[in-house]
Amino acid sequence: MKTVSAGKRGDKVRSDCYIEITKKTSGGIKLKLQSKVQTMYGTQIEDQIFEMCRFFALRHADIIIEDFGALPFTIAARFELAIKRLEPSLTCEFLPDFNQANNYKTTKDRFRRSRLYLPGNEPKFYPNAGLHKPDGIILDLEDSVAPTEKDAAQLIVRNALRSINFYNSERMVRINQLPKGLEDLKYILPQNVHVILIPKVENAEQVQQVEAEVEILKKKHKIKNDIFFMPIIESAKGVMKAFEIATASKYNCALTIGLEDYTADIGTQRTTEEKESFMARSTIVAAAKAAGIQAIDTVFSDVNDMDGLRKSTEEVKSLGFEGKGCIHPRQVKAVHEALAPTEIEIEKAKKIVIAFDEAKSKGLGVVSIGSKMIDAPVVKRAENTIKLAIKNNLLQTDWKSN
């Protein structure tokens, strides 16, 4: 008789559960449930488990559940995992209802100032992540997930994308390094994922492999909307091929850099002065801009050093980056503030936008302020500055009428 387990247990475990299944040949389903929320949700949990047993045609088994207040999407993922560990040949998926609030779309050029990493096997962080208003949420299947729990994270992330409202944050997933990452796509692609982060990219081919797999899955699941890519460059090789990578797919929306791995690769360490990564960063910025996509900086890993985060963000802004990675929700606001336009920048942008409006209303092809001609990219940049200023409450939406 085979016994399998899934999930987590222990004194410190919260909003998760541990499941053990022993398959039997007779006797029906025997469920032993011990739950922190027994009084409030004991019957609901039992109903959910019996429903899933019927779905997977599990008829005879002893099931032990230790529940630490797991939400339904987590229980479903843990139970499906246990069943699939019991019967690895099973391919059917038990999909929780798709939350209608999760149908929102994205655009290639939306703001990506902050992207908040959430470890793929830690569902307790999910329900409130979007409340901190990062521009993007990254459900991470890669480095934050233990190699033995990759299968667990695939199901947790799939269910989270269906059930959990991320409140208009862009819905991103970091897949594993190829080829494992191609398998990840099967789980996440049908769940209205917006951006795929591809780790450790060193050549254009890797991006194209992802694109090819995405095209197949889009056809299969009749997905109409665009799914964008954000290649992460994390090695010297990748830096040297940055432009090739940035232009590898028309679905690339941004290029980003992972400095922990990059500094290891070049045989050094990250310092607060960050001289060691200056060339790599500038290369990423130039490659991204030449390709017409966004340049996004790495994460700031000291969650207690808010001043350091602000300083680093201001610095990379001056290098040309438009966003930064966050590993803690409290970093989001600091990043947004550091990337916000200055008063001088806003005033300049206002003048340009107003001059552009005037030129348009007069039917002029050329925009100018005084004797100075203004190019189209400058106007676009000014419009972006205005949008950012409004997002940061530095400017009223109706500023033109004031």
Binding site: R14, S15, K36, V37, T39, M40, Y41, L71, P127, P329
Partner: protein, 518 residues
């Protein structure tokens, strides 16, 4: 047990532990008349003329005080979870073979789970105060001989003053005292800050025993408790574990969600125009509350605003505000860390208060209603803004009321709470136990948005143009239920077996706690 429906729609017993009860009559509807209770007449010639009231040990003091079966003994929670005296006292009472004590603490802590064996063997008949942690579990499972009575800090003063509770012996632990019985909490190896919770007991109990581990020659200055009210003084080697009496430092929460709630509260006070020169607020020691004070401090500094007074639970964060000139006074109800104790000792503008000044129903007014804003927690809030602070959704008693009920009378009462914990919704359709009527609760601040009581049209209007996420409580409720997988089930209880009752601040019965069926 006969139950009647009170004005809040809750069923309460007509009699508790053999004493007739008055059901809650509605907000500000009950006014007792007659005279306040009187302590017995004492005569100074019965006491040592040299002022030395020291007796050899607690057993001797209890014996001299005339301890006998069925008496009411009061203790206080100044020493919080570091208290060893209460446990030692009941060990002594057990050895003296005295039974059926009514224990009347100002609060209980997990360290008092030691007393469960005395509840089981009949040494203690029942508890009137708070039933926290293991004591709450014991009570809710129907194992206590009598019925528990939960009162607020103000309600405790009220019950003593109007004679509802007659204290036979008050045992007051004092971090510093003199042989005459003058006592203070602001110094000594077990310093805890102030002794305000013991004030009523020192004035009204038949016999008053001071227990100290730091006996100084007369006079003990300051005398927070006056020796003129004291019968006996006992010196013991230690009052408890100083690390658990006050924490060395109080920690601000690191939880991003709680920080978000704290930030919303501070911004609410600013956007609603409550934060203005000369205003006042109360903040406690919970992690969210500390963070709120820090966020508010930044806003006050940015706008150059100074408070007239802050009510504590003081901590080093409030002390910093006092020392940086962001408030004229701290009016302190209890001190949570060593910085608070130091400040109270050294700074004349850090003033100690008592439930008499702050909360008492039978005073000619009290401070609670004068505060511009208070920030409190809760275990549950319902769609009518009714709140619970004593039990959890599984029906078990877990916390005391503390000053919570009394604080609800502020001009703007804010509950800063998560909308759910793990898979436990905090916003529910109906609270498990009613402790705070919704018409006193003005604002609920959660990580999912801020709900303003619809009757506070002024507040709704004040934040109309704020970018805070103002929502209805129903919207937050629906969202949380959806997330948790539907409405939570109610605990199975025996509606005929009341294990504890909740007093309102005026002494009437607001709600009952029932025996939980397993």
């Amino acid at each position: 047990m006969k139950l009647v429906k009170n004005a809040a729609g809750r069923f309460v017993p007509t009699s508790v532990n053999g004493e007739k009860q008055i059901p809650y009559k509605g907000m500000n509807k009950y006014r007792p008349t007659g005279n306040k209770a009187n302590p017995k007449i004492s005569t100074c010639i019965d006491f040592p003329s040299d002022g030395n009231k020291v007796v050899i040990n607690l057993r001797e003091a209890l014996k001299k005080a005339g301890l006998k079966d069925g008496m009411t003994i009061s203790t206080h929670h100044h020493l919080r979870n570091g208290d060893v005296v209460t446990n030692m006292m009941f060990d002594t009472i057990k050895k003296m073979k005295v039974k059926n004590i009514r224990w009347f603490p100002s609060a209980s802590f997990p360290c008092h789970s030691h007393l469960i064996k005395y509840l089981e063997d009949g040494t203690i008949h029942h508890i009137e105060g708070s039933m926290n942690g293991p004591l709450g579990k014991f009570t809710t499972e129907g194992k206590m001989s009598g019925t528990g009575v939960l009162r607020s800090h103000g309600g405790r003063y009220q019950a003593i003053q109007d004679g509802e509770v007659k204290v036979d012996i008050a045992v007051i632990v004092a971090p510093t005292a003199d042989p005459f019985g003058n006592a203070t909490g602001d110094r000594g190896p077990s310093a805890c800050g102030l002794l305000g919770f013991a004030l009523a007991d020192s004035q009204y109990a038949d016999k008053v025993i001071i227990v100290t581990d730091n006996l100084v020659p007369f006079p003990c200055i300051p005398w927070q408790i006056q020796g003129n009210n004291v019968d006996y003084v006992v010196k013991v080697p230690t009052l408890g574990d100083p690390k658990k009496i006050v924490s060395g430092t109080t920690e601000v929460t690191k939880s991003p969600d709680r920080l978000l709630i704290a930030e919303y509260v501070a911004q609410f006070l600013e956007d609603a125009g409550i934060m203005k020169d000369g205003f006042s607020f109360q903040a406690g020691a919970g992690g969210t509350n500390l963070a709120f004070a820090l966020f508010l401090k930044e806003k006050m500094k940015a706008k150059n605003i100074k408070a007239r007074f802050i009510r504590g639970g003081s901590t080093k964060y409030l002390v910093e505000m006092l020392e940086e000139g962001l408030t004229d006074y701290i009016l302190d109800g209890q001190t949570f860390d060593l910085e608070g104790v130091r400040s109270m000792r050294e700074n004349a503008n850090h003033v100690n208060t008592s439930p008499f000044t702050s909360y008492n129903f039978h005073g000619k007014g009290n401070f609670a209603s004068m505060l511009d804003a208070v920030v409190l927690g809760a275990t549950e809030v319902d769609l009518n803004f009714n709140a619970n602070v004593v039990s959890h959704s599984d029906g078990y008693l877990l916390h005391g009321i503390g000053g919570w009920q009394n604080c609800l009378f502020s001009k703007c009462t804010i509950l800063a709470i998560p909308s759910f914990r793990d898979r436990i919704p905090v916003i529910v359709d109906d609270v498990t136990t009613l402790v705070g009527p919704g018409n006193l609760i003005d604002v609920i601040v959660t990580e999912r948005g801020i709900a303003i009581n619809p009757k506070r049209k002024d507040l709704l209007k004040a934040v109309k143009n704020s970018n805070l996420p103002i929502r209805t409580i129903k919207e937050i409720y629906n969202e949380v239920n959806e997330l948790c997988g539907g409405k939570p089930n109610k605990p199975k209880v025996n509606k005929k077996e009341v294990v504890a009752v909740i007093k309102w601040v005026d002494g009437t019965l607001l709600d009952s706690v029932y025996k939980v069926l397993k």
